[in-house]
Amino acid sequence: MRGAKDQIVTPLRVLSIGTSLSIVLIVVALISLSMGPAKVSLVDILSWCAGMGSVDETASMILAKIRLPRILLAGLVGFTLSLGGVVFQVLLRNPLAEPFILGISSGAAIGAIGGIVLGLGFTVGVPLLAFLSALGTILLVMGISSRHGGLESSTLLLTGVIVNAFFTAIIMFFIATASDSRLHSMLFWLYGDLSQSKYIQLSICLPLVLIVSGVIYLFSRHLNLIVGGEQSALHMGVEVELVKWVSFIGISLITGVVVSFSGIIGFVGLIVPHLMRMILGPDHRVLLPASALGGAVFLIAADTVARTIISPSELPVGVITAFLGAPFFIYLLKKRGSQWTQD
């Protein structure tokens, strides 16, 4: 129909889009690094990154141990959620799909809240419990909806929604009966928060995310064919069920891992894939890397706003993602249409 969508996807185009988004990512990360209650100029940041210490000890500690790990984790979480969004939207053939739709968010939340109720720590205990319960939930959902080894999209979606509703009821029960001190921690986790980012979390998430996104990228042609209908993809030699099982489990695994550290950060996995689809068209060879990088940029930017807008206090990042994302999304939707249907 319009410009970008009709462009033929060449390796060069993939590379140039990837490179330009990476440059945007680095610029946004540097700007984010310079923002916060402690004033550090962009020039100082650059010299600090180059290893020349012109900042004082306190500033250097703030940059290295608070802002940098937080920006890196925000990027990784945005990358993962947005990639998950693209894949789930295709495989579930539903524009409303996002990585949480199969129950990962409420599953992880049950684990996290259970951990908080038990008084576990936020470094190991709570994330571990959140991850295990997210994984358990997704396996439960997939187990319920699989028939004769096949996963049928609408059954999967409905099961996910119902399991989400059931777990949300349990979460509300915990919140209603929680003591004051626990309540803050719970709400905090439920709204998504990156203020406790540490390098150790990155070193756990990063390898998994890289491996899974690599595998998913190998499926990008298959995903293109699946968009046109599972039957026709099957006729063209795509092992549809294999692609689905591997993708669902892979995406759920990395979503579960990042969410167990960040809490529930909504909206990223829904809007960034759509934004990129509107701008770059529906070919997954471009859409997958563009969405992942775009998600990283978006979440770093949103988290920067979250931690600076009411400084020295902070907002949960989930507030910002929807608040900033929704108007922009509506604007693009009005202007370009969803690009969802293959017209």
Binding site: M61, S185, D193, S313, E314
Partner: protein
Amino acid sequence: MLEEAKIPVYVLNPRRVTEIMDAIESVGDLCGVAQRARVRVASLRQRIQGVTDAVRGKGKPLVFLVINVKPLMSVNRNTTHHDIIEMAGGRNMAEGQRITYPRLSLEEVIRRGPEVIIISSMDRSGEHERARREWFQWDTIPAVRKGHVYLINSDLIDRAAPRIIDGLEEMAKLIHPEIAWNERR
């Protein structure tokens, strides 16, 4: 609702330690034990005097009172906690915040560099001790450098009741460890 049920209602909303003392006397009056209340309050007032005398003329270290660990929350000047910190001879780091119980970023705490960090803990499980130890990685904060990171039983400072004077004395000991408190009794 209670008034509709013809149950007499008295409203007390003390914000300052002195107001709490007045409130205790009022409750004494209402309950018909005015004399006992007055005797009790007189001895409490004496203990307040003891603390304020002891810290008079001493330096006023910057105190960061942590009322919630995750998210990190503190108290502004409209709280009894603030009043206790002041009376105990400290300066409340978050006094100027607009929100009564503000959420603060770790970065802000590092930037301000409090000289004493006091974590108010609601339970005795290892949770708060762990939170205390976690501060030690931020070693540019003066409080951390000098090891002035403490826990305080939140029951002592959260309740507008006679116990709050125990909290005041405890707080003063944490903020001014250099004073020989035992000899003063």
